[in-house]
Symmetry: C2
Amino acid sequence: MSGDILLTPGPTPLPPQVREALGRPIIHHRTSQYRSLFRRVLQRMQAVMQTAQPVVCLTSSGTGAMEASVVNLLSPGDEAIVVLGGKFGERWQEVCAAYGIRAAPVPVAYGEAVDPERAASILRAHPKAKAMFATLCETSTGGVPDIQALAAVTRASRAVLVVDAISGLLADECQTDAWGVDVLVTGSQKGLMLPPGLAFLSLSERAWALVNEAKTPRFYTDLRGYRKALADDDTPFTSAVSLVVALDEALTLILQEGVPKVLQRCGLMAQATRSGVEAMGLRLFAQRPSNGVTAIRVPEGIDGKSLAKLMYDRSHVMIAGGQGEMAGKVVRIAHMGHIGPGDILAGLAALEGALVALGHEVAAGTGVQAARAMLESIVHSP
Amino acid sequence: MSGDILLTPGPTPLPPQVREALGRPIIHHRTSQYRSLFRRVLQRMQAVMQTAQPVVCLTSSGTGAMEASVVNLLSPGDEAIVVLGGKFGERWQEVCAAYGIRAAPVPVAYGEAVDPERAASILRAHPKAKAMFATLCETSTGGVPDIQALAAVTRASRAVLVVDAISGLLADECQTDAWGVDVLVTGSQKGLMLPPGLAFLSLSERAWALVNEAKTPRFYTDLRGYRKALADDDTPFTSAVSLVVALDEALTLILQEGVPKVLQRCGLMAQATRSGVEAMGLRLFAQRPSNGVTAIRVPEGIDGKSLAKLMYDRSHVMIAGGQGEMAGKVVRIAHMGHIGPGDILAGLAALEGALVALGHEVAAGTGVQAARAMLESIVHSP
């Protein structure tokens, strides 16, 4: 509904410039006009993804690009390592299983941070593993593993590191090339401030070498075709043109602010959210919390689903509940993309109201007050 | 550019109601508001696809749904039949090859109509074939095979009939259930008047039975997951929400006019285009021409690419050139979706102007005149 405040970790709110672009007359994709726009978009995606490698654009959800990583890098029977710890780590495991990849798990309890040394020892125990799959921001727990350490560990092996940055990009730092992340996967509906429907991958030279060797059958997600088409600023199959046109506007906003400043702003918003939540006497779920989404333990005796529903019904603020095993146990507030300081204050105020209505004691205004001081230091950006 | 007339066979122009919907604030997809919209959209897609079977919605180009048909119906080593005759018939062959399906071709010369008896004899020669793949409108040649006859032929075998109606839907008649088409595949950017990014499939009971048997590995396109999610009016992975919201508006326009009337209008637009083209002394490419797109043989000594470019440069009318083998030899004018009678007149006028500029003799106004009489009988619709 119009007037709603959307604090969900994807889709995230759209800036007016993006909405305007989405509503423009459609343009044809086999034209020089579109090709030059597409080239500009992919070049600017390199800056956002912190890589000098070419960026491939798929018309799919983020999961389509996760699948593209698995089927383009590996062959049936290959070994790989999967870092668990939430619904999206488990998704890597499911994709591997679907394609006959023998994926050894790095077990991580929900909310806990992976121990890079544990990952290293599992890598050593599987010297034939060709890839390690990890998640920059595990949206389901609000946790962020130490990707830099995982990259260091992977570089000591023959495996490439593949990172799902679908909800982490532009919120949690990931220095793709500098850290040695071989494949970065992302989607459009989070930090990029677009509707869902586009997914992106960047691949290192080592990863491209695997693409040429991999025997897993593939067609729509065959990255060889996408790389070939890049020479003509094209895609092998029709792109989601209106989303690409809108992405051009979103990238202008992002690069005008600058990637470091976007990350810093998200970091401050996250800190403010965490302070607010803790001031209300609530506990964070993740040991190493994300700057894109905060997962909050729901107090004993309260159901997270009812809490989120009440926040929406009373205040028109929409947050996310828990997924899978964590349904009812956590609620999640996003602070990425176009979500602004005022949205966070509204979210904390609505949270307080709903908690009180459910009989949980909260000292009036404590959460909002704790957050506000921090938020005031943010110069308002796109 | 604003003011351009787009006569390309996808993407096709967007109605204002669709553009307005695309530019709305994004809504979250795991809400009752979105679920009820999604349910309504899929129910109305059944009417448009002329089937009582559930409709599955993928976030992908049309090719993603073509791949979904192959990987969900067949196992590596299975036999199938592929009806050729253009770039998109050949795409079925390429997808089958990628997944280890032994696809026997029904050879069809470009522009010619498939002989259903030929298809029948190839089916008889491959009694183990589990599927026959065909194309409702072969966009590359502007040709339409007799799908009703192919369906009759297929029903006399154990094979299911899979039809790519990506550019044919809502332009060329396809009575999915009545004729016995088992799987109908379509995309958003043609008769549905949306940007590209969504694809749809409907499957008969016989086809769903194959889905449960097929051994080809799949994940993002695994139709079992989509069917399960339908029970909750949901999808296994995040949908392209803004396109689904816009589709709701497009379907209102289509169903207000009524599917038979949309087909009739496209038929008249096609007849008018063909009359205009022939009045100018040009020849059609397809033996059995589509009501969605007209392919025109470019006169001797003229390059089709230059012709299309000149039409755009002089008149801001964009038509499509030839694809693959037919580059330069044909040009293609679409008359599906939101393309109106005035657009067709502009297209014919621009075509005449460009032909004359390239030194081809055309009696002034003949094409426009021939088309106009026919177009005047169309009551203007969405």
